[in-house]
C-alpha cells in the first residue's frame, strides 16, 4: 500500500521492523508475536519443533488473501504451505497445482439423455477424483430417473437403486452448470466464489464463510455444503490436486463441481466424462469450432435446463 513510505512516522515503523513492510505483513508479524507470547505463557515454551512449524504455517495461511488477489509468488507460497501441512498433519504426500486458465478456452458440456443408462459410473468416478466426503456421502452429480415426456428433474427419482436402465425411463444428469451469469456468484457476500476466464465457477475454500447464500441461490442443485469435517480414507485420496479444485475442504465451507479443474487444465476430460461407459457425456472447448461440443451444439437438438432464468449455463442436454 505505502511501501514508498513518504511520511515521517511511516518511516519510523519501517525502521523498527528493519525491513520494508506492507500493512498485511505488519499485522501478521504483530499477531505472530502475540501468539508466540501467549503460547509461551500457556505451555511454558515446551512446544515441539514440529508443532511450532505447523503453528507457523497455519498462521501464515490465516493471513493469506483471496486467491484472486494473490500474486503468482503468493500463490506458490500458499500451495507450498498446504503441501507441507498435509505432510505434517496427515503424513500425506500431495501435489497442489495452481495452474492458470488457458487462453481461448471456454469449457462446455453436453449430456445425451437418449444414451444415459443410469449406471452412475460418473458419480463414483467423481467422488474418487474430487476427494468428496465419504462420511456424508457427498456427490456433485445427481442422476434422475425420469418418465418419458418429463423434462424437469424435480419430478424424477434421484434416489433409485435397482437394475438400470428400466424400460420406459430415461436418465438425466445434473451437476453445476457453470453458468456464465451465475446467481451463486452474485449471492456470495465475501466474493469467495467466481467464474474463471475459462468459464469454470470455483470457490476459494479459505475465503468462504459458510453462509450458504450461494446454495440457496443456485437453481440447479449445484452446490454442496460441508456440515462436518470431510473424511477421505488416506489410501483413497487423490493426491493430484488443484487449489481451486479437489484439495481437501474443511468443515463449514461450500464446494461444488469444478469441471475437474485439476484435470481439464491439463487437457484431460473430467472424471465423469472419462468414466461414462455409454458416451453420454461430451466435454470440450466451446471456442474451438472443431471441437466435439461445438458439433453437438450445431447438429443436435439441444436445450438447457431452466433457460428462461437467464443464468446462461454452459451445460446442454441433447437427444440423438
Amino acid at each position: 500500500m505505502n511501501s514508498s513510505g513518504k511520511k515521517e512516522d511511516e518511516m519510523k515503523v519501517t525502521d523498527i521492523l528493519e525491513k520494508k513492510s506492507t500493512r498485511r505483513s505488519f499485522v501478521k508479524n504483530l499477531s505472530i508475536a502475540a501468539a508466540a507470547g501467549s503460547a509461551g505463557l500457556v505451555t511454558g515454551g515446551c512446544v515441539s519443533l514440529g508443532k511450532s512449524e505447523e503453528m507457523g504455517l497455519k498462521w501464515e495461511e490465516y493471513f493469506k488473501s483471496n486467491y484472486r488477489l494473490m500474486t503468482q509468488e503468493e500463490k506458490d507460497e500458499t500451495v507450498a504451505r498446504l503441501v507441507r501441512l498435509a505432510k505434517i498433519q496427515n503424513d500425506a504426500d500431495i501435489q497442489i497445482s495452481n495452474q492458470e486458465p488457458r487462453e481461448n478456452v471456454l469449457y462446455g458440456y453436453a449430456f445425451n439423455i437418449s444414451r444415459c443408462k443410469g449406471y452412475m459410473d460418473c458419480v463414483e468416478a467423481c467422488v474418487k477424483e474430487n476427494n468428496l466426503d465419504r462420511k456424508a456421502k457427498t456427490q456433485y452429480i445427481r442422476l434422475f430417473e425420469m418418465d418419458s415426456g418429463q423434462l424437469d428433474p424435480t419430478s424424477g427419482d434421484g434416489k433409485y437403486f435397482h437394475e438400470v436402465p428400466v424400460e420406459g425411463k430415461f436418465y438425466m444428469g445434473v451437476q453445476c452448470f457453470h453458468c456464465e451469469n451465475a446467481p451463486c456468484i452474485k449471492a456470495c457476500p465475501t466474493k469467495a466464489t467466481w467464474r474463471e476466464p475459462d468459464g469454470i465457477v470455483v470457490v476459494d475454500y479459505d475465503w468462504c464463510i459458510g453462509c450458504r447464500y450461494c446454495l440457496a441461490a443456485c437453481p440447479y442443485w449445484g452446490r454442496r455444503f460441508n456440515w462436518g469435517e470431510p473424511e477421505v480414507p488416506k489410501e483413497e485420496m487423490n493426491t493430484k490436486q488443484h487449489y481451486l479444485g479437489n484439495r481437501m475442504r474443511m468443515k463449514g465451507v461450500m464446494e461444488k463441481c469444478t469441471f475437474c479443474v485439476q484435470r481439464t487444465r491439463q487437457g484431460k476430460l473430467p472424471a465423469c466424462a472419462e468414466a461414462c461407459p455409454t458416451g453420454s457425456r461430451v466435454f470440450g472447448n466451446l471456442l474451438d469450432p472443431n471441437s466435439e461440443i461445438r458439433y453437438v451444439l450445431k447438429n443436435k437438438k439441444v436445450f438447457r435446463f431452466k433457460e428462461e432464468l437467464g443464468t446462461d449455463p454452459k451445460f446442454w442436454y441433447f437427444i440423438d
Binding site: N66, L106, Y295
Partner: protein, 205 residues
C-alpha cells in the same frame, strides 16, 4: 488476541470485497452463445503438452474429422485369438476340440427380432483375418466402424462428428476416439441391464 483476529479479518474482507467487485464488473462479457458465434478460429489444442501421451495403441482412422485426421483405438490387439487364420485352415479338427474351435460361447444377439445376423454377414468368408461389408470389400478389424456404419449410418455420422461414442482420456491434443467395438460387443451390441455403481442420498435442499 481474538480481537486482532477479528478486526484484521474484517478489514481484509472489506477491502477484498470492494476490489473484487470492481474486477467482476470489468470481466463480464457477452452471453455464451455470443461468444461461441464469435469464435470461428480453430483452437490449437496440440499446444497443451500434457495431452500428448496416451498409453494405448491407436491407428489412424480411414475417415476424416472436420477435414482433418483422427485416430481410433486399435482393436486387433484385444481380440484374444487373433490371427484367425491360425485355426481357420483346411486342417482337420478332432471332435473333442470342437467346443473350442467352433466359438460355441458366442451368442448372437444382433439384428432385428428373430432375424439374427449370421457370422459371415460381417466376417469375411474366405479370409478370416478380415471382416467384409455387404459388397464383399475386406475390412480390417481395426477399422470395424466402416462395417458397422453400413447399417448404423446415423450413429456413424454422429460418431465422426463427436456426438456418439467418446474420446479417449483427453479433450485436447490429437483426437483419439474409441472404436465401435471398444464399447459395443459386436455379437450383442446393446448395453446390459445392471445395478448402478452407487446411489444418492436425498438432497438437503
Amino acid at each position: 488476541m481474538k480481537k486482532i483476529f477479528l478486526s484484521s479479518g474484517l478489514l481484509f474482507l472489506m477491502l477484498g470485497t470492494v476490489f473484487l467487485s470492481a474486477q467482476t464488473v470489468m470481466a463480464s462479457g457477452g452471453s455464451v452463445i455470443d461468444r461461441i458465434h464469435a469464435a470461428d478460429k480453430p483452437f490449437d489444442s496440440m499446444g497443451i503438452e500434457s495431452a500428448h501421451h496416451l498409453p494405448v495403441k491407436t491407428v489412424l482412422a480411414q475417415e476424416s474429422y472436420q477435414g482433418g485426421t483422427f485416430k481410433v483405438l486399435a482393436r486387433k490387439d484385444s481380440i484374444t485369438r487373433f490371427r484367425c487364420s491360425v485355426c481357420h485352415t483346411d486342417k482337420k479338427v478332432l471332435v473333442s476340440d470342437g467346443a473350442l474351435f467352433t466359438h460355441g460361447d458366442i451368442v448372437i444377439n444382433h439384428g432385428r427380432g428373430n432375424d439374427r445376423l449370421a457370422c459371415i454377414e460381417c466376417h469375411d468368408e474366405k479370409n478370416r483375418d478380415f471382416l467384409s461389408d455387404a459388397e464383399g470389400k475386406q475390412i480390417d478389424f481395426d477399422h470395424s466402424y466402416q462395417l458397422c456404419g453400413q447399417c448404423h449410418f446415423r450413429q456413424k455420422r454422429d460418431w465422426l462428428g463427436g456426438a456418439h461414442g467418446k474420446r479417449e482420456a483427453y479433450w485436447a491434443g490429437e483426437r483419439v476416439v474409441r472404436n465401435c467395438t471398444s464399447c459395443h460387443s459386436p455379437h450383442s451390441p446393446a448395453f446390459e441391464t445392471k445395478m448402478p455403481a452407487t446411489y444418492s442420498l436425498p438432497l438437503d435442499k
